[in-house]
């Protein structure tokens, strides 16, 4: 309920974790660049977005310590993304279902 009742701990992440995360990020970057030279049709963008989302999640979870944050921080990290999807989704529905006389 009251998230400030217990004292906040500093989660000091070890340097090693960061390096592992970094190596992972570099591998993913290499992958996404490599894939872009191949032709999968519409799947190119899908793959690119999945890879980008994995990278973004890793950055958020480890570099930004989201992994160690409380529920409300998670809520406010995720809610804007939900809204963004709704903005894009509903606007797309409008734009691509218009009847052309």
């Amino acid at each position: 309920m009251s998230e400030h009742s217990h004292s906040e701990e500093h989660h000091v992440t070890g340097y090693k974790t960061y390096f592992i995360v970094w190596v992972l990020l570099m591998i993913l970057t290499a992958t996404t660049v490599y894939v872009s030279y191949l032709d999968f049709g519409t799947f190119n963008i899908v793959i690119a977005m999945i890879v980008a989302s994995i990278k973004a999640s890793v950055v958020a979870l480890f570099f930004m310590h989201l992994k160690f944050e409380d529920t409300f921080t998670w809520l406010f990290a995720i809610f804007p993304l939900v809204l963004l999807f709704l903005l894009i989704g509903l606007t797309m529905i409008d734009t691509f279902t218009r009847v052309v006389p």
Binding site: M1, S2, F79, L86, L87, L90, D94, T95
Partner: protein, 537 residues
């Protein structure tokens, strides 16, 4: 309740310090609240006078007082100033600032420096507005493209001013959310929070997450005028309706940024003057959050005739009806709170009751506009104008006036003349209805909005509306004079003139510098009125 009494030698009122710099550099939330209150009231009066000029022009069908272009500039300024300089900061920034720390038992907001920084941003926005007045825009406050991208008037400065104000609003919202999360006094659990806090919280979330979208939209509009990008320009492959989608993604939630704090105010005033616990606390609290969330998903009901797709129109119409439900729940709960109460018709209570009355009309006429086929006929007519003003004046402004009359003794430590306040309320209430009720009929008959001149068949109702605006103006004038007079010659206010149980009334009037001599331990909710409950004396 009385054991927070303060020894006279310790108590220093927050108003004690004098000098303009002590105001401009203050980080005290109560002073910042006053700065906002003064600024928004100033802009309310300015925009109100512009409205009176417009109504005067509309007394007759022809344009015989100002030219059509001037009229267009006037309604643009009236709309922009009222929306962006008055109602959006409005109750949230003024009373939110003053009340949130007091109500949750905190010495100040979470980030006091950011708080005054937000006010400076607001001032910067007003400064930009001043320059924008040199060649004022004539686009309407909605800045629809492509008109706003092509007109010769200065759209860039005005939109940039709004952009800056947007950041002020975002930072204020951010500050409030963190304050409500992190600064509550021991024992002040979520379900013991006053409903004004719930309302402020819902508002702050909207400010935080909807405002940036209008920010980027206005930046894109500025880029369209300066760099020649074409997102909204059909000649370049863009889509003017996209602008409307983006604009209303903010501006519909913005309507709730304006009205939810007023709902919070009503939820505070009614229990105190009924001496009854608020009816359905959780229903009111969670309906604020419900409204806030759904309000993100209804924006295109402003665009049913704009050439959006039928599928989208249907989805948005459905979602629009959903937003009516939590609103209705609030109205029913307020009304039920009065049941078996001991009702005192104090001027603040009159404004609160007026709010319910007028807001119900505003809400019900909203149902017309949510229903697809009815909206097609009513959209962009005076029906919209009337509906919007019933919600914004009948709702927000009534709530704002109610809040001023309710917390005035606490904030300034003075009393105003209650009889004059009641008279002013009567004039405002009557004047408002005479001004705006005829506009529903005008709208149904097809009178379009934003017309500098109009066909003669509408004259009788149009001039009736103008006469009403004079009564309304007189009421506001009397109220303003009464309140200002109270500041100088009012009686000294007691600590808790209405016997309220909320925390802000348990400190002296005006509150001391850091609110509480000792941070209170809260053991109960603030609505424990009534006889089954032992109230500690």
């Amino acid at each position: 309740m009385a054991n927070n009494a303060v020894a006279a030698n310790v108590y220093v009122s927050f108003l004690e310090k004098k000098g303009i710099l002590s105001w401009l550099y203050t980080t005290d939330h109560k002073r910042i609240g006053i700065l906002y209150l003064a600024s928004i009231s100033f802009f309310f009066l300015i925009a109100g006078m512009i409205a009176l000029l417009m109504r005067f022009e509309l007394l007759t069908p022809a344009s015989d007082f100002v030219s059509p272009h001037t009229y267009n500039v006037l309604f643009t300024l009236h709309g922009s100033i009222m929306v962006f300089f008055f109602v959006v900061p409005g109750l949230a920034a003024s009373f939110g600032n003053f009340l949130i720390p007091l109500m949750i038992g905190a010495p100040d907001v979470a980030f006091p420096k950011l708080n005054i920084g937000s006010y400076w941003l607001y001032l910067l926005g007003t400064l930009i507005l001043l320059f924008a007045l040199l060649q004022p825009a004539d686009t309407g406050w909605t800045f629809y493209t492509p008109y706003s991208a092509n007109t010769d008037t200065d759209v860039i400065l005005l939109t940039f001013g709004v952009f800056v104000l947007g950041f002020s609003s975002i930072l204020t919202g951010l500050n409030f959310i963190v304050t409500i999360h992190k600064m509550r006094a021991p024992g002040m659990t979520w379900h013991r929070l006053p409903l004004f806090i719930w309302a402020s919280y819902a508002t702050a979330v909207l400010q935080l997450l909807a405002t940036p979208v209008v920010g980027i939209t206005l930046l894109l509009l500025i880029a369209e005028r300066t760099l020649g990008i074409g997102f909204f320009d059909p000649a370049k492959g863009g889509d003017p309706v996209l602008f409307q989608n983006f604009f209303w993604f903010y501006s519909h939630p913005a309507v709730y940024i304006m009205i939810i704090p007023a709902m919070g105010v009503i939820s505070e005033i009614i229990p105190v003057f009924s001496r009854k616990p608020i009816f359905g606390y959780k229903a009111i609290a969670y309906s604020s959050l419900g409204i806030a969330f759904i309000s993100f998903l209804v924006w295109a009901h402003h665009m049913f005739t704009s050439g959006i797709s039928e599928v989208a129109a249907t989805i948005f119409s459905f979602l629009t009806f959903l937003v009516a439900i939590p609103t209705a729940i609030k109205v029913f709960n307020w009304t039920a709170t009065l049941y078996k109460g001991s009702i005192e018709l104090h001027s603040a209570m009159l404004y609160a009751l007026g709010f319910i009355f007028l807001f119900t009309i505003g809400g019900l006429t909203g149902v017309f506009l949510g229903a697809l086929a009815a909206d097609i006929h009513l959209h962009d007519t005076y029906f919209i104008v009337a509906h919007m003003h019933y919600v914004m004046i009948g709702g927000t402004v009534m709530g704002f006036f109610g809040a001023i009359h309710f917390w005035y003794p606490k904030w300034f430590g003075k009393m105003f003349n209650e009889a004059v306040a009641k008279l002013a309320w009567f004039l405002v209430f009557v004047g408002f209805n005479v001004t705006f009720f005829p506009q529903f009929f005008l709208g149904v008959q097809g009178m379009p909005r934003r017309y500098a001149t109009y066909p003669e068949e509408f004259q009788s109702l149009m001039s009736l509306s103008t006469y009403g605006s004079w009564i309304l103006g007189l009421g506001v004038l009397i109220m303003t004079v009464n309140l200002i007079k109270g500041l100088f010659s009012g009686e000294k206010a007691p600590q808790n003139p209405y016997g309220s149980l909320s925390l802000e009334w348990q400190v002296p009037s005006p509150p001391p510098l850091e609110n509480f001599v000792e941070i209170p331990h809260v053991t109960d909710w603030p609505y424990g009125y009534g006889k089954k409950k032992e109230v500690d004396a």
